[in-house]
C-alpha cells in the first residue's frame, strides 16, 4: 500500500508540465540534512523503543534468564519446546483462536445488521450513536471491573434474571469453568460491538444514495438492496474490521487479566495472560519472551495471509483511485 501511493504521488508531479521543475532532486547537502533532521527524532524513538525491544525479545527467547544476571545461559529452542508442549499454553492458543472465530461469526453479522438498520433517517440518531459508542471509550480495565461487580454470585445480573422469571438460568458467571469463557466473550462483545457498528456506519456513509434510489425504482425490496448493493459496497469496511478484530483477539490481555486473571483453572487463559503469569510473575523473562515471539508469529501469519488473500483487492482499488 505504501509504495503504490508514493509512486502515484510522484507520477502526478511528473505529469504536470506547468509546474516549474520540482526543487532539485539531486542531493544538495542542505536539503539532505533538513530531510533527515526532520525524520530523525521519530526514527530514533521508534527504532529504540519498538524495533530494538522486538529484536531483543527474539534474543532473550533463546536464554534461560530471570532478568537480573548476565544473559549467559543459552538453551537453544528449549523455551519454545516447553511452551508448545505445555497443555496450558496450547489451551491459551485455543482460547485466542476461539475468540477470533466467535468474534467474526457473531459480532460481525450483529454489527452489520444493527448498522444497516440505524443507517436510516432516524430521530435522535446522533444520540443513539454516542450511546452505542460508550463501551468503546471505557478502558478495558474499567469495563472488566464493572462486569465483575455486576456478575458476582447473587449480584445484580442474577437479580435481574430472577425479576424477569429466568432465575433458573443463574450461573456462577465468573467462577464456573464451563461458563466463564462465554461470559468473557459476552463482555468482550459488549465492549467492542459499538466500535464495529460505528465503523460500519461510517462505511455506509460512503455508499451513494443514488444507488438506493435507482434500485428501489427498479422495484428492489429493502432486503434485496442491502444484500446486493449495500453489503458488497461495505466490503472494504467489513474486511478491515475483521482484520482489526482478529489482531485484537489474538493479543487480548487487559480485559481477561482484570476480569478472570485467566482462570478459573485456566479456563480463560490467553497467550498474553499466559506470558504475564508464567513469564513475568515467575521472573522467567526468557520463557516469557519465547511466548511473546510465538504470539507475534501467529499474529504475523494471520496478518500476512489475510493481507494476501483478502485485503489485496482493497489495496489494488486504492492504487486505482490514487492514479
Amino acid at each position: 500500500m505504501s509504495t503504490s501511493t508514493i509512486t502515484a504521488g510522484s507520477a502526478v508531479h511528473a505529469a504536470d508540465p506547468v509546474r516549474p521543475r520540482p526543487r532539485k532532486r539531486r542531493f544538495d547537502v542542505k536539503s539532505v540534512a533538513m530531510i533527515w533532521g526532520f525524520a530523525a527524532p521519530a526514527l530514533v524513538v521508534y527504532v529504540t523503543f519498538v524495533i530494538v525491544p522486538v529484536v531483543l525479545a527474539a534474543v532473550y527467547s533463546f536464554f534461560n534468564w530471570n532478568g537480573l544476571g548476565p544473559l549467559d545461559r543459552f538453551i537453544g529452542i528449549d523455551n519454545y519446546v516447553r511452551a508448545l508442549t505445555d497443555p496450558t499454553f496450547l489451551k491459551a492458543i485455543g482460547n485466542n483462536l476461539a475468540i477470533v472465530v466467535l468474534s467474526l461469526l457473531i459480532q460481525g453479522p450483529v454489527a452489520i445488521g444493527v448498522a444497516l438498520l440505524l443507517n436510516r433517517p432516524l430521530r435522535g440518531r446522533t444520540l443513539i450513536r454516542t450511546l452505542i459508542f460508550v463501551p468503546y471509550v471505557l478502558s478495558e480495565v474499567v469495563a472488566a471491573l464493572a462486569f465483575k461487580l455486576i456478575l458476582q454470585p447473587n449480584g445484580p445480573f442474577d437479580a435481574f434474571l430472577e425479576s424477569i422469571g429466568l432465575g433458573g438460568l443463574k450461573q456462577l458467571w465468573l467462577a464456573d469453568q464451563n461458563v466463564v469463557f462465554w461470559t468473557l466473550f459476552f463482555v468482550l462483545s459488549w465492549k467492542y460491538l459499538g466500535f464495529a457498528i460505528l465503523l460500519m456506519l461510517a462505511g455506509l456513509q460512503g455508499v451513494p444514495d443514488e444507488l438506493f434510489e435507482a434500485a428501489s425504482i427498479d422495484g428492489a425490496s429493502w432486503w434485496q438492496i442491502q444484500r446486493h448493493i449495500t453489503i458488497p459496497l461495505l466490503g472494504p469496511t467489513i474486511r478491515i474490521w475483521a482484520f482489526l478484530s482478529m489482531i485484537g483477539s489474538l493479543q487480548l490481555f487487559d480485559m481477561v487479566w482484570v476480569l478472570t486473571g485467566g482462570g478459573p483453572v485456566n479456563a480463560t487463559v490467553t497467550m498474553a495472560t499466559y506470558m504475564m503469569q508464567y513469564g513475568f510473575q515467575r521472573s522467567q523473562l526468557g520463557f516469557g519472551s519465547a511466548v511473546a515471539v510465538i504470539l507475534f508469529l501467529i499474529s504475523l501469519v494471520f496478518a500476512l495471509l489475510y493481507q494476501r488473500h483478502v485485503l489485496r483487492r482493497d489495496f489494488e482499488g486504492a492504487v486505482g483511485r490514487g492514479a
Binding site: S2, S31, P41, V45, F49, V141, L149, W190, W222, A318
Partner: protein, 287 residues
C-alpha cells in the same frame, strides 16, 4: 431479521407510514439498553450503601447516599492518578504529534534516497504489538532508571503510536497542493517556512485525529503502566481503579463509586471527540 417487511427505501421520505421505523427504533432501544445498562447501574449503585446492595442488588437507592462519591473525591490517590493519567496522555499525544508530523512531512513531500524504506519501516510497526515487546521494554526502562516514572510509559507509548500516526498523516500531507508550496517558495519562504506556515495549519484536522487516537490509547493503557508504574500513589487511573477495587473488595458501593468517577473523564472527552475517533480509524484503514 424481521425487517424484510420494510417497504422500499424511497418511501421513508415520509409520505406513507413507514412500518420500518418502529422496528428500527426497537432495535436501537435494545442496543442502547444493553449498552448502557451496566454503566447506569454502576452510577446508581454508587449512591447506595453496600448494605443496601447486599440486601437487594437491583433496588433503587433508599436513601440516596453521597458518602461513597465523597470518599473517592476526597481521596488523595484518585487525584494523583487523574493527574498522572492526564500528564501521561498529554505528553504522549504531544510527542506523537510533533515527531509524527515531522517525519510524515518529509516522507510525504520529498523524494530522497531511503524514503520508501523509511516508510516501510514505520508501517511494519503495525505488526509489533506492545505485548510482544513488553519484556525487553521492561528491562530497558529499568536500565534507564525510569521504573515508577511517568516518562517510562510516555516514551514507549509515543514510539508505539508512531506507525499509525505516520500512516494517517502521510496521505494527508501529500494532499496539500504543490501550488501552495510553489507560491510559498516564490514569496520567499524556505522549507521551514512552508512547513511552519502552510503545512501545519492545513494539517490541523489530521493532527487532531492522530492526537485523539494517541490520547485514547494512553488514557486506557494498562499493560505497560502495570509493569512500569506499580504502586497506586504513582499510577494512572486504570491501575488505580483496579487497586481500589482490590483493596475495598468487600465494599461494593465504594468500588462502584470509584469506577463510575474514573469513567467520567474518558466519557466526556471521548464523547466530544467521537467523530474524530471514527474518522481517524476509518481514515487509517483506507490510508
Amino acid at each position: 431479521m424481521t425487517t424484510t417487511t420494510i417497504p422500499t427505501v424511497g418511501q421513508h421520505a415520509g409520505r406513507k407510514f413507514d412500518w420500518g421505523q418502529p422496528a428500527v427504533y426497537f432495535v436501537a432501544l435494545v442496543a442502547i439498553a444493553v449498552t448502557i445498562a451496566p454503566v447506569v447501574y454502576l452510577i446508581i449503585g454508587g449512591f447506595r450503601t453496600t448494605g443496601q446492595i447486599n440486601e437487594d442488588p437491583s433496588a433503587w437507592p433508599d436513601p440516596w447516599v453521597i458518602t461513597n462519591y465523597l470518599t473517592v473525591l476526597t481521596s488523595e490517590n484518585f487525584w494523583v492518578q487523574l493527574v498522572n493519567s492526564t500528564i501521561a496522555a498529554g505528553f504522549t499525544t504531544g510527542g506523537v504529534i510533533v515527531l509524527g508530523v515531522m517525519a510524515a512531512f518529509v516522507i510525504a513531500r520529498y523524494s530522497f534516497r531511503g524514503r520508501d524504506a523509511l516508510f516501510t519501516l514505520f508501517t511494519a510497526g503495525l505488526l509489533f504489538p506492545l505485548t510482544v515487546a513488553v519484556v525487553p521494554l521492561f528491562t530497558m526502562i529499568k536500565g534507564l532508571g525510569l521504573l515508577g516514572n511517568l516518562w517510562g510509559i510516555i516514551i514507549p507509548q509515543v514510539a508505539f503510536a508512531l506507525p499509525t500516526t505516520i500512516i494517517i498523516l502521510v496521505p494527508f500531507l501529500r494532499a496539500i497542493p504543490a501550488e501552495l508550496e510553489d507560491a510559498a517558495t516564490i514569496d520567499g519562504a524556505g522549507r521551514f517556512g512552508f512547513f511552519w506556515r502552510i503545512v501545519l495549519p492545513l494539517a490541523g484536522p489530521g493532527l487532531v485525529t492522530v492526537g485523539v487516537l494517541a490520547f485514547v490509547a494512553s488514557w486506557n493503557a494498562y499493560l505497560l503502566p502495570l509493569l512500569i508504574l506499580g504502586d497506586p500513589s504513582h499510577s494512572t487511573l486504570p491501575l488505580g481503579t483496579q487497586a481500589f477495587a482490590t483493596q475495598f473488595s468487600s465494599d461494593t458501593a465504594k468500588v462502584m463509586a470509584f469506577t463510575t468517577i474514573s469513567m467520567i473523564p474518558a466519557l466526556v472527552f471521548f464523547t466530544l471527540a467521537q467523530g474524530r475517533i471514527v474518522s481517524g480509524l476509518t481514515g487509517a484503514v483506507k490510508g
